[in-house]
């Protein structure tokens, strides 16, 4: 007994070299030293190279006038604007195509994912062929394809397709009438937001009533009614005026209105079709992951088909769907940088190509561009993490 009690005292202390703690610190110091040495060498080389090329550094170029034109901008911009304005234009263009793209890709992706599980053979097979084709071809190639196809199939300016005398489609883009609201019209917009808030309250009330009394209320149709009728009433009563700036053919081109250039259409089309294929797979696996017993249990409780999907299947499927869906949204945003290849003026094209070529401030511009994407992706994943923690399974 004495032996056993004393035994752990007699274990020889590991030698200094073999002590895991000492080793850990040693390894980390080595890694640290390598990283520091690498950074120092790179910094020295960069400084030396920049000095050798006689290039100035710093962020002062942001305030200089850019001197180049951008054909698609969301804010006023011309040659005299500063590089900072060009940067903002590029960033807004990236955000525009990403936001619209995420919305459309989600719609199409969910449709396709559900279609793949359809018990209709033709629909399921068509969705499968779509997914397997689109996701195995590089996005860049698809963008070139759509860009060429759009330019090829669209008519010349003189032979534009025309709808209602106000929407025109030709090789230069799609021309919409631009709404020009007067001052009173702001009330209508306000009414619209109030109606949306009202719809939310209605949903809340209907849910409470359902839980208390078991009576149903057609929330969806009622909400749509409110959202349409209330602003329309305000419009009529206030006498607000909404005029339209209709594009008109002047000389060789249409003037006025809103223009979506073919580069935008090709980029959006490519991004949406490509990302939808991935989202479809995510949605399918999410729905498949919900056990069959859940469906059967819901049926045995007497839930209608719609309620079964809405209250039992989808909430559980969303848990599986949301994390990979997040990364697809991020991917779409990052992939929108391929705009540079077909000439849509996004952040990379405007800032990392044109501005970099003109100013030569490689280090600063690459750094700023990367920070923008880093911020975007951190924001998206923060939001999605919050959503995810909300829908995550609560284990009881």
């Amino acid at each position: 007994m004495a032996d056993q009690n004393g035994s752990h005292k007699n274990v020889p202390k590991p030698s200094f070299v073999n002590d895991p703690k000492v080793r850990g610190i040693f390894y980390q110091l080595v890694v640290m030293a390598i990283i520091v040495a690498f950074v120092v060498v790179v910094a020295q080389n960069t400084a030396a190279n920049l000095a050798a090329q006689n290039k100035s550094t710093g962020f002062d170029f942001f305030s200089q006038s850019s001197g180049f034109d951008i054909f698609f901008t969301l804010i006023p911009y011309d040659r005299a604007s500063s590089y900072w304005d060009a940067f903002v234009v590029g960033m807004l263009n990236t955000l525009l195509v990403s936001v619209i793209g995420v919305f459309l890709a989600t719609l199409l992706g969910f449709t396709l994912g559900i279609a793949r599980l359809s018990n209709n053979w033709i629909i399921a097979k068509m969705a499968m062929v779509y997914v397997e084709t689109l996701r195995n071809i590089p996005l860049l190639l698809q963008l070139f394809f759509w860009y060429t196809a759009i330019l090829k199939t669209m008519p010349n300016v003189k032979q534009s397709f025309e709808w209602f005398g106000s929407i025109f489609v030709n090789k230069r883009g799609i021309y919409f009438p631009k709404p020009v609201p007067d001052d009173i019209f702001n009330w209508v917009i306000l009414a619209f937001f109030i109606a949306i808030a009202g719809a939310f309250l209605l949903k809340h009330w209907a849910k409470k009533r359902l839980e208390n009394t078991g009576q149903r209320f057609p929330v969806f149709w009622a909400s749509i009614g409110i959202i349409i009728i209330f602003p329309a009433l305000v419009w009529l009563v206030s006498g607000a005026n909404l005029s339209f700036d209709v594009p008109i053919l002047k000389g060789f081109n249409y003037k006025g209105g809103l223009v979506l250039p073919p580069e935008f259409m090709a980029l959006l089309l490519g991004l949406v079709l490509y990302t939808a294929a991935f989202i479809a797979e995510i949605v399918r696996s999410g729905i498949v992951a919900v056990e069959k017993g859940q469906t059967e249990a819901a049926q045995s409780l007497g839930l209608k088909d719609g309620d079964r999907l809405r209250l039992v299947i989808i909430p559980q499927a969303m848990r599986v769907i949301v994390p990979p869906l997040t990364s697809q949204f991020l991917n779409l945003t990052k992939n929108s940088s391929l705009a540079a290849a077909i000439g849509y003026p996004d952040l990379v094209s405007v800032f990392m190509q044109t501005t970099l070529n003109q100013t030569g401030r490689a280090v600063e511009i690459v750094f700023v561009t990367m920070m923008v994407y880093l911020t975007l992706s951190l924001l998206t994943s923060a939001y999605m993490n919050w959503y995810n923690s909300r829908v995550a399974m609560v284990v009881r």
Binding site: N119, F144, L356
Partner: protein, 392 residues
């Protein structure tokens, strides 16, 4: 007594009668799969209409009205109104699509015939041939000597490829990397990306799991920064900033810059895939390894990684597929990969016709599709074979 006289009680069992005609064969199948309910019928009709709308024009473009290569087929045939894809153009430019600007062998370039057409590019073709000879047994599940084979393919083969294409030794004429092009370069970038990113990804994933704070932080930062930015900015950075990082006067090969960019980028994604596999393993495995007296590297190499990697084979192959598709982006920074050669050929006036560009892109899409789809099917097969769980 009357019981026994019931005339309608059968004493022998009748044979199974055949299923009614309406529930078997094509009719039964389509009743079940196409017309099971009114809404299903509507969907079927919509689907049929879509197919009728899409398929005939597509078939006519790709096959029916297409111009196929042959004796005396010139660009005039493709310029005729209403023709479909101009496959004769692809056939004519094929060697450019595959070999880029790689110089022809001096002797064989003067010869005629099928053998000469292969021997003109014998250096590139031998690279292809050796690659297939090493890859097929590596992917064939039942063959032995996998370790030797893997070392040959992942370590020896890249060296062989480099010297065979670059030349300058063994009496081979030196060929600058600027002259490499086409499918060759696409496959090279894919191969290098795979060879570098998998081990690098594993190391990064292990580093991220490490208990040493500095190593852990360094790995997390590396992974997250690369994953947050688009590949195209990485490639721009590699092509603009790598030269700045080098000592003054030293230049970095253009292809090498792209290789570094692509490899690091996919290593970060690979690290996350591998981490998923590491996290899925129960802790008992590493504790069991430790209790057997294994040190860190032994337990990783023999216990943890084999199981973790097996878990994430689909994820790894997905990364490979993404990597292979992403190689097309190097065309933006001026490297002549398959897509770039197609784009350049599309501007070639000798074959200028209405459908030239679309045909070129269709061809490139088909090539990429075959590789990517092949990889995904292969991973499905391996997943089945390696599935040792007893769930199913």
């Amino acid at each position: 007594m009357a019981k026994n006289n019931l005339a309608f009680v059968r004493k022998d069992i009748i044979d199974e009668s055949p299923a009614p005609n309406l529930s078997k064969g094509i009719v039964g199948w389509s009743k079940e799969n196409l017309f099971s309910s009114p809404s299903n019928t509507i969907l079927t009709i919509i689907g049929m209409a879509l197919l009728l709308y899409i398929l005939p024009p597509l078939y006519n473009f790709v096959f029916g009205h297409a111009v196929w290569p042959g004796e005396g087929v010139t660009v005039e045939a493709c310029r005729a109104h209403g023709t479909g894809a101009c496959w004769a153009y692809i056939d004519d430019r094929m060697s450019f699509f595959v070999y880029g600007f790689f110089p022809k062998d001096a002797y064989w370039a003067t010869q005629e015939g099928f053998l000469a057409s292969i021997m003109q590019y014998w250096r590139v073709n031998s690279v292809f041939a050796v690659g297939v000879l090493l890859l097929v047994p590596l992917m064939w599940p039942d063959l032995k000597y996998k370790t030797v084979n893997a070392i040959l393919f992942f370590v020896v083969y890249p060296v062989f490829v480099f010297y065979m294409l670059k030349g300058g030794v063994f009496g081979l004429e030196e060929v600058q990397t600027e002259s490499w092009g086409g499918l060759t370069v696409t496959l090279i970038i894919g191969l290098v990306g795979i060879v570098v990113s998998l081990p690098m990804g594993i190391v990064l994933a292990l580093g991220r799991q490490s208990k040493m704070p500095i190593i852990k932080t360094a790995c997390i930062m590396f992974i997250e920064v690369w994953r947050a930015v688009p590949l195209i900015t990485v490639l721009f950075m590699a092509s603009v900033m790598l030269p700045l990082f080098m000592p003054v006067g030293m230049t970095v090969d253009k292809l090498l810059r792209a290789l570094v960019g692509v490899s690091f980028f996919s290593a970060a994604y690979m690290a996350e895939v591998v981490r998923g596999g590491l996290q899925a393993l129960p802790k008992g495995q590493s504790e069991a390894a430790a209790s057997l007296g294994m040190n860190y590297w032994k337990s990783m190499l023999f216990i943890i990684l084999p199981q973790a990697l097996k878990h994430v084979i689909p994820g790894i192959v997905n990364s490979f597929i993404a990597l292979f598709k992403d190689t097309s982006l190097v065309s933006i920074v001026g490297i002549f990969d398959l897509l770039k050669t197609v784009q350049i050929s599309n501007l070639n006036l000798d074959w200028a016709s209405e459908n030239q560009a679309i045909t070129g892109y269709l061809f490139a899409a088909a090539v990429f599709w075959v590789f990517c789809f092949g990889m995904s099917r292969y991973s499905l097969m391996m997943e089945d074979r390696l599935n040792t769980s007893h769930k199913n």
